[in-house]
């Protein structure tokens, strides 16, 4: 099945700094989503981005499907950005069911 790898596994930033999180996947994808899991455990949808670039406030994401990676950019980080960021994909064998395969996540800590 499709493999999803995220890097770095852990990241510590000072408030106001910028960061880039990476997601590599081993096959073509029909769906790619970025989630933020906050310290209370809630999964928050950030982007649905199987290809192209999107922006939402201080966050933006780019997926280059032909090269099998996606990047999540966080600018001017805030303490509320802390938590775990997950990348999840649907591979070609699951296009009819939409099953998501999750990466292991990047744990971000933003210090005041």
């Amino acid at each position: 099945g499709i493999q999803v790898e995220q890097s770095p596994p852990d990241l510590i930033l000072q408030e106001g700094a910028n960061s880039t999180l990476r997601c590599n996947f081993s096959d073509s994808v029909n769906n790619l989503q970025w989630f933020h899991q906050n310290p209370w455990g809630q999964l928050i949808n950030l982007f649905y981005i199987p290809s192209g670039t999107k922006q939402n406030g201080r966050l933006s994401a780019t997926t280059v499907a032909t090269e099998r990676y996606s990047l999540l950019y966080i600018s001017s980080s805030q303490t509320t950005d802390s938590g775990v960021y997950f990348c999840a994909v649907t591979g070609p064998g699951s296009s009819n069911t939409g099953k998501l395969i999750f990466g292991q996540g990047t744990t971000l800590q933003v210090k005041p």
């Binding site: 999803v4 029909n30 769906n31 989503q33 989630f35 455990g41 809630q42 999964l43 949808n45 649905y48 199987p50 997950f86 999840a88 649907t90 009819n96 069911t97 939409g98 099953k99 998501l100 999750f102 990466g103 292991q104 996540g105």
Partner: protein, 115 residues
């Protein structure tokens, strides 16, 4: 819209007990999913449904059963709970191919402890 809701939020079971987790969505989504999340890991798919009356196995289905009698509800059952089923359970839904969308939306989770 409430989106995706899950009942209960927390539960403690003894080994061998049974229980049912309820997931409800008010977005008229066709597809629904149950995932589990263990410490330090991403989510893994337990079972899923692509429409009312249909269910199928995901990555880690052993020890669980599901039912989708109504489009808006997806039930996850544990017939005889084991400590290995201690986890956080997330339900998700998506419009599905016919509904024009693959994006999945998640509920708040149910934290289950099996002693």
């Amino acid at each position: 819209n409430a989106g995706v809701t899950q009942t209960p939020k927390f539960r403690v079971l003894k080994t061998g007990q049974s229980m049912t987790l309820l997931c409800a969505q008010d977005m008229n989504h066709e597809y629904m999913y149950w995932y589990r999340q263990d410490p330090g890991m991403g989510l893994r798919l337990i079972h899923y449904s692509v429409g009312e009356g249909t269910t199928a196995k995901g990555e880690v289905p052993d020890g669980y059963n599901v039912s989708r009698l109504k489009k808006q509800n997806f039930l996850l059952g544990l017939e005889s709970a084991a400590p290995s089923q201690t986890s956080v359970y997330f339900c998700a839904s998506s419009p599905g191919l016919a509904g024009g969308g693959r994006e999945q939306f998640f509920g708040p989770g149910t934290r289950l402890t099996v002693l």
